[in-house]
Symmetry: C2
Subunit: 190 residues, 2 copies
């Protein structure tokens, strides 16, 4: 299945009939407050799965952060299978626990880290998942980064500038970053 950038894949409280694997592009899952405030919970890149739920409803909204292609899986008998296939369900347990870990790390970032520190964490985690070359291509907008880090686009932009000023990164384009001092980012991030 293909989705254009910013298309909704499913919405909060939609019935969870399928889950997905990313073939290409980036997907974001997010939540909203009634007045429109938004927080991106996670980005999913090539090869990652999302949309697995326990109840009948999706707890988050999923949107295409870039144009992307997905593999869709019928949820079907997953529930019943769960009670019989111990390997499957223990793998799902591991999967859920690793998501939990990521979410807890995210909470620590949102609750206790300042703007530059948040961006440092983001760039490090992003560089880890992208190919390990020096220059990384950000596949999402400043707005997406801001909504993930609990900031505004202006603050994100200023933080990029600041990281560049202290020579931790180099901006070769608005979406292109080279990490020039990984150690500096690391010490900001903990």
């Amino acid at each position: 299945v293909s989705f254009d950038q910013d298309r909704a894949i499913y919405s909060e409280d939609d019935e969870a009939v399928s889950f997905f694997k990313v073939i290409s592009g980036v997907v974001r899952t997010c939540r909203f407050l009634r007045d429109g405030r938004k927080l991106i919970d996670a980005f999913y890149a090539e090869g990652e799965m999302f949309g697995i739920e326990v109840g009948n409803l999706h707890k988050l909204t999923a949107e295409a952060a870039s144009d992307c292609k997905l593999m869709s899986f019928r949820r079907g008998g997953l529930d019943t299978e769960l009670h019989h296939d111990a390997t499957l369900s223990s793998e799902l347990f591991s999967y859920a626990m690793s998501c939990l870990n990521r979410a807890q790390e995210h909470a620590l970032l949102l609750g206790r880290k300042c703007a530059v520190e948040r961006l440092a964490v983001f760039l490090l985690s992003y560089s880890r998942r992208a190919n390990p070359s020096v220059t990384i291509e950000l596949e999402m907008t400043r707005q997406d980064i801001a909504d993930f880090l609990g900031l505004t686009i202006e603050t994100v932009s200023r933080s990029f500038t600041l990281l560049q000023k202290i020579k931790a990164i180099e901006l070769t384009g608005p979406r292109c970053v080279r990490i020039t001092d990984r150690q500096a980012l690391l010490s900001l991030s903990r």
Copy 2:
């Protein structure tokens, strides 16, 4: 096992040899940044389980938020059992997913809600788990609430005062709250 208030039950990166069930009192799980900044991930009250991990190490620190009694379980063959007992592992999956949900809700709060809104959420969730009587007894300090909500004790205190001023709550003592306008709290919390 008994723990006095503020005693560590286990620390981040400790070997995860046991997990626990709360018999009485309240436990908090938390993470730290190197400079001492702290975020409480969750509180666990009577009957709740904590300390279940996938790897060999605890990912969080657990401390007694009040004097408390715990039931300790050897982790033992849980790993091997996991691959054979489908019911157990699917239950663990559900457990992990509900923790994940809670963590995501927490992240939304930390990333996008202001101080009073955060306190409103906290009081509502706390009143849900405590007995449903009108007056609730907070079993933790302002510092704990602040570390959970990503605020300082002063801001928490001011938010209590503010909620009282708008007649959403009544403080019958520093640790005793009566919710007088649940609707007001609800509309702050979403």
